[in-house]
Symmetry: C2
Subunit: 222 residues, 2 copies
Amino acid sequence: MLNYSTSEENYIKAIFHLQRQDGTVTTNELANELKTKPASVTDMMKKLKVKKLLHYEPYQGFRLSSEGSKVALGIVRRHRLWEYFLAEKLKFTWDEVHEVAEDLEHVSNKKLIDKLDEYLGFPRVDPHGDPIPDANGRIEISKKICLTDLPLNKVAVVSGVSNQSSEILELLEHKKINIGVKLEVKKRFEFDHSIEVRIGRQPAFTISKELAENIFVKYGSQ
Amino acid sequence: MLNYSTSEENYIKAIFHLQRQDGTVTTNELANELKTKPASVTDMMKKLKVKKLLHYEPYQGFRLSSEGSKVALGIVRRHRLWEYFLAEKLKFTWDEVHEVAEDLEHVSNKKLIDKLDEYLGFPRVDPHGDPIPDANGRIEISKKICLTDLPLNKVAVVSGVSNQSSEILELLEHKKINIGVKLEVKKRFEFDHSIEVRIGRQPAFTISKELAENIFVKYGSQ
DNA sequence: TTAATATTTTAGATTTGTCTAAAAATATTT
DNA sequence: AAATATTTTTAGACAAATCTAAAATATTAA
């Protein structure tokens, strides 16, 4: 595996994350994600195409090649292992780890990362609940979990409802909770086990324990 | 404390290490140390002078300013803490840690480093025996230690002899071991506790246990 | 103390990654 | 389908860090 610059790695990682929402990524999406300009994105896309890390034809958007995906999985692996280390060993809180891991992930010494993995006991998910790719780049397909078990502030995609009655569907329709909707749990109330949920950037709203028990979501970036 | 590029940090660190051998560092010395060209060194020296990290007049060599020394101590702290982590926690051998730490040292998040320090139990020296600066940049002045206790391959400076007899002085003179001479222990022999010593790049030679017990050295980079 | 040699600096070029402004291509609206 | 708007790309510039070759300065040796 060749070595890539910090900048190249950041582009690859961003495409990797945007890809699984769409399938192909656009220039503006990527520029927005990386807080850079569209012209810079085009420049970099040409470079990464030459290096065979992605599929790209002018004006057609881009998608990682299988080599590009391998590279991305390596970066994601480093990022998430460091996040786990920071939270588990150094006692950072879960919301502080991402920023620090953004820097550590670019140290790409394979032996370092594999030994870190071993030291940490081969963790399967990072502090946000995202799965950690193994040394061969394999990542666990995220399983369906009940909304009652979703960690706070973890974006997940609604993937199923167990009770199929018309009553629950009426309620789901009213709350605009459909299959494929991305949401996160903002708060849990001990009193009645109700849950405060937010869809995208809309205002949060509350759903009952009964409803939450019947909603299943998937999370994890792949 | 401002943030410096990886390249700037590597120059600052190299000057810091070369300084304590001489006092002022020359363009060629630094180019050699960093495996770069003299012209590149001059370019960087101008930049670091503007940033007030060093004292420099054309053709006169350079020396870190007090601000530059502070920055250098921060880099050395990060480097040595990571070395300690790699050896102690990840079970790297002492000769592998330097290379990996060269990359990790450039992640300059103060909270990360201070928490790492705490996690490691505030170690005083790295796996090569070099002292680790504390969170305020204070570094332990290295104490005299007996040549019998000097770790292998650790360059140290001869700073004293306990037995002052003319017999020992004759022997020391013959072996060219004088105060200020830099040497390292290459090997210890269990059989007679004799020690193989090397001065600079000259061929190694052996000294007896009796002699070694009377030679004291200082080590640590400051 | 000059002449030869070595060191250091300058001048100008190159690479990487970024930017702005303008042009080209694609999408959307009326 | 033509006009308008949006997106994407190109062209050209710039900063950081490096290099080579030539010029300036310092050191050494005759």
